[in-house]
């Protein structure tokens, strides 16, 4: 009955007839009587829409073999050469990392190169654990001015990058002998964060685990100052800004548990 209805409703080469024929072909090669009958029924009832378009695979069995694009460069490569974009007022960026990028240093360093109209400053750090000199290059600009330094001059630098990509532990900074400079500190952890702000003699800490709570700056001759996220203020002759201070919001939210739940991100600078 179903086959008759199908035949009346479909032309000789209609997709429906082709699908039914394909189902009959499947019935022919089925390995069990039950499957033969099921395929025959599917053919009779017009139950196999689209079956006629299923190609017989050229390669029915293939090997999963993830591939890489030819020419892809998996190993570390020199960072793409960057300069400070015209019009940018302030900048701090590492553009040349020491050979062992994870070996930290805070202290005096000698300026070895000043390039790009004063924007790019290269300094020599004292030899690290390997005994070889270490070179660090920074792009620096503060309030539209380069940091005034000369080749051979001693400056103070802070160089610390995180060992764990999910837990910020970064402090990058430079300060000249006149006291002008900039430092960027990002710190993370599983508890309220406190961090040293090198070069400026400050400490900063989260004091409350409530979202939006202020963070506290502390200095040797400073009455503690509370700043909230997004606030900028003078602190011991420098300018401090709390870019971000995050604490867990209480209720876990799927997908928002990317690394350290507590983070603190501050910048401190003093204009030349």
């Amino acid at each position: 009955m179903g086959a008759i209805a199908l035949a009346l409703g479909a032309g000789c080469n209609s997709p429906e007839r082709q699908a039914a024929a394909a189902a009959r072909d499947a019935s022919e090669v089925a390995a069990t009587p039950e499957q033969k009958q099921l395929w025959q029924d599917a053919a009779d009832k017009g139950d196999a829409p689209g079956l006629q378009s299923v190609p017989i695979p050229q390669e029915p069995v293939i090997q999963r073999r993830p591939s890489q694009a030819p020419g892809a460069q998996p190993k570390p490569q020199p960072p793409q050469s960057v300069t400070i974009t015209p019009g940018v007022r302030s900048e701090l960026r590492v553009v040349l990392y020491p050979e062992d990028p994870f070996e930290r240093y805070t202290g005096p360093a000698r300026v070895t190169k000043v390039e790009q109209n004063g924007d790019r400053i290269e300094v020599q750090l004292p030899p690290g654990a390997s005994g070889t000199p270490r070179t660090l290059a920074l792009l620096v600009r503060i309030s539209s001015s380069p940091l005034p330094v000369k080749v051979g001059e001693m400056v103070d630098v802070a160089y610390q990058v995180r060992r764990d990509p999910q837990v910020p532990e970064d402090a990058i900074g430079i300060r000249n002998s006149a006291g002008a400079g900039v430092v960027h500190v990002i710190q993370g952890g599983n508890v309220l964060v406190q961090a040293v702000i090198p070069l400026f003699g400050l400490n900063v800490r989260q004091v409350d685990n409530q979202p939006g709570a202020p963070v506290q700056f502390i200095g040797a001759s400073l009455k503690p100052i509370d700043l909230t996220m997004g606030q900028t203020s003078l602190v011991e002759g420098a300018t401090a800004r709390v870019i971000s201070s995050t604490v867990p919001s209480g209720k876990p939210v799927p997908g928002l548990n990317e690394g350290a739940p507590f983070t603190l991100n501050v910048m401190v600078w003093r204009v030349p």
Partner: protein
């Protein structure tokens, strides 16, 4: 010709030769055990070695229209090896049950009475050639076998790892064509796959299509009418996005990503990154009814995330990005043109740069410098993400790290968490994919940190010989990145005072002290089969 000509029960054997169409396969030809065994779709293209075949030689012939080929011999091996741990039926360690990973549609016809006939494409892990699909209208109903034929097989790659490392070894993936019969449109059905040894998969839910207008054959949440005829965002009859011209195929899953990259990013962010990422998705263990492979990832990285400054100039670089989508606390009101070190909200950049007409189709990502929370990336678990690892260290400036960062955040957008279906533990040694922190940025890590993040190194490096001597990166680093397949054995965390437990994975020592987890038993998770494609259309959520 048989490939291979020797193997073990359940192994898939390919037959090559002429006149295979409409032929049947006779196993043990001329013996008392002679039987017809299932081949491929409409022909004798492949078979699974019978689960109860004893070791020794087994003559095979092909028959068609009453004519038989000359016998060829398949030998069932008696020996064991890395991939053939004895798994006899009823034994302590059995051959793994089939696992359904996806159900898609080959064809459907809708009846005026509100019913639908569908030809389904059912696929998953360890399907025998000849595995049968059964359907239940309700979980409490007995499964009813339906007309089923095997279509394709994708043999899996183990990189030489011994199968005792796996709780669910996946020897191969398989696809079948199954006939659902006439059923109410939109009905939820449950499918089961039964292998030739009668072991069954767990039931897999599937909602039949509701109507021809909304049918989404491949399940990528892009209706077929969009993928074929284009997407009319405003309903004005004008096609705004010609998806077919972008390579969309209604029978292969497509993922579209717009990635706007800030000026002066130092990490590789070109085709050396995007091409391997596209290949990662093409190499997914997903079978399609046509020739197309895996999942089709389209990355449009031609744009920049810019704002126009008060002077009318486009500014496409900001020191800090606040990812204010997805529940993060807004950070006051940053002003990118007044802040000394310019800060910008993600939402501000998205509003300015992401074309609204793309909203139902594309994921949106921004590759920036710093993120306010200091993280190397973040996702809203739906349709937005940010990549911000550019200044966390020079060792990260590799194509491999860029690919991993993108694959990780896109994985979040597709519903994956760090341990697959949970975030705990996020450094899971046996979750063998880039969602785990044991994989993400692995080659960039300080060696002392790398030593604390055990994983199965041959899988990470896609190299059977991979080792990390004293924490050093394996020299033959490539750009092959993957999501987990859910194979790895469970790990048992030693809990004092007991000392027994898992101490290594694939020979790499596990440092449990660094793993912040509440779980004692840690399971792998099948990422590829669990991807969720609803993000863009549900505007950043995975559930309606």
């Amino acid at each position: 010709m048989l490939e291979p000509a020797e193997g073990h029960p359940h192994d898939v054997v390919q037959i090559t030769g002429s006149d295979l169409e409409d032929a049947q396969i006779v196993w043990d030809f001329g013996k008392t055990t002679q039987t017809v065994i299932p081949g491929g779709h409409q022909g004798a293209y492949m078979f699974s070695v019978p689960h109860d075949a004893p070791a020794g030689a087994h003559p095979i012939v092909l028959q068609k229209n009453g004519v038989q080929s000359k016998p060829i011999t398949f030998t069932v091996s008696s020996g064991t090896g890395p991939r053939n741990r004895p798994r006899p039926p009823g034994g302590i360690v059995e051959y793994p049950r089939p696992r359904i990973d996806a159900v898609t549609i080959v064809g459907a016809t809708f009846e005026p009475a509100g019913d639908v006939r569908t030809t389904l494409y059912v696929q998953g892990a360890n399907f025998d050639v000849g595995a049968i699909v059964s359907i239940m209208d309700d979980m409490s109903d007995p499964p009813v076998p339906v007309a089923t034929t095997s279509h394709k097989v994708l043999r899996n790659e183990w990189y030489g790892v011994d199968d005792d490392q796996f709780v669910y070894p996946i020897y191969h993936y398989g696809s079948t064509i199954a006939i659902s019969g006439l059923r109410p449109a939109g009905q939820r059905i449950w499918l089961i796959v039964t292998n030739l040894d009668n072991l069954q998969s767990v039931p897999f839910p599937y909602d039949l299509p509701k109507d021809a207008k909304t049918i989404d054959s491949d399940g990528d949440n892009l209706p077929d009418v969009w993928e074929i005829g284009g997407y009319d965002a405003e309903g004005d009859g004008v096609i705004d996005i010609n998806l077919a011209a972008l390579g969309a195929d209604p029978s292969r899953r497509d993922v579209f990503v717009e990635l706007d990259i800030m000026d002066t990013i130092q990490s590789p962010h070109d085709e050396t990154v995007f091409a391997p990422l596209v290949q990662m998705f093409e190499s997914a263990p997903i079978l399609n009814v046509g020739d197309a492979k895996g999942i089709h990832l389209v990355i449009d990285a031609t744009g920049k995330p810019c704002l126009t400054d008060p002077g009318g100039q486009a500014v496409c670089e900001f020191y800090t990005t606040h990812f204010d989508i997805g529940g993060q606390i807004p950070a006051g009101e940053p002003d990118p043109f007044k802040d000394e070190f310019p800060e910008v909200r993600f939402s501000m950049l998205k509003a300015e740069n992401f074309k609204r007409i793309r909203g139902d189709i594309y994921h949106y990502g921004i590759w920036g410098r710093h993120q306010a929370n200091g993280k190397g990336g973040f996702s809203d678990m739906g349709d937005d993400f940010v990549i911000t690892f550019d200044e966390i260290g020079g060792s990260y400036h590799t194509a491999r790290s860029s690919i991993e960062a993108l694959a990780h955040e896109i994985g979040h957008n597709l519903g994956l968490l760090h341990a697959g279906d949970t975030d705990d533990p996020n450094m899971q040694p046996n979750h063998l994919g880039v969602m785990s922190y044991t994989w993400l940025f692995r080659t960039a890590l300080d060696p002392s940190v790398r030593l604390t993040r055990a994983t199965c190194l041959p899988f990470y490096y896609a190299d059977a010989g991979a080792k990390e001597m004293s924490g050093s990166v394996f020299p033959n680093v490539n750009t092959i990145v993957d999501y987990s397949q859910g194979m790895a054995k469970a790990l048992d965390r030693p809990m004092p005072p007991a000392t027994a437990g898992s101490t290594d994975i694939c020979g790499t020592a596990i440092d449990w002290t660094t793993m912040d987890s509440i779980f004692k038993i840690v399971d792998d998770f099948a990422d590829w089969g669990s991807l969720v494609f609803t993000g863009p259309r549900l505007n950043g959520t995975l559930q309606p």
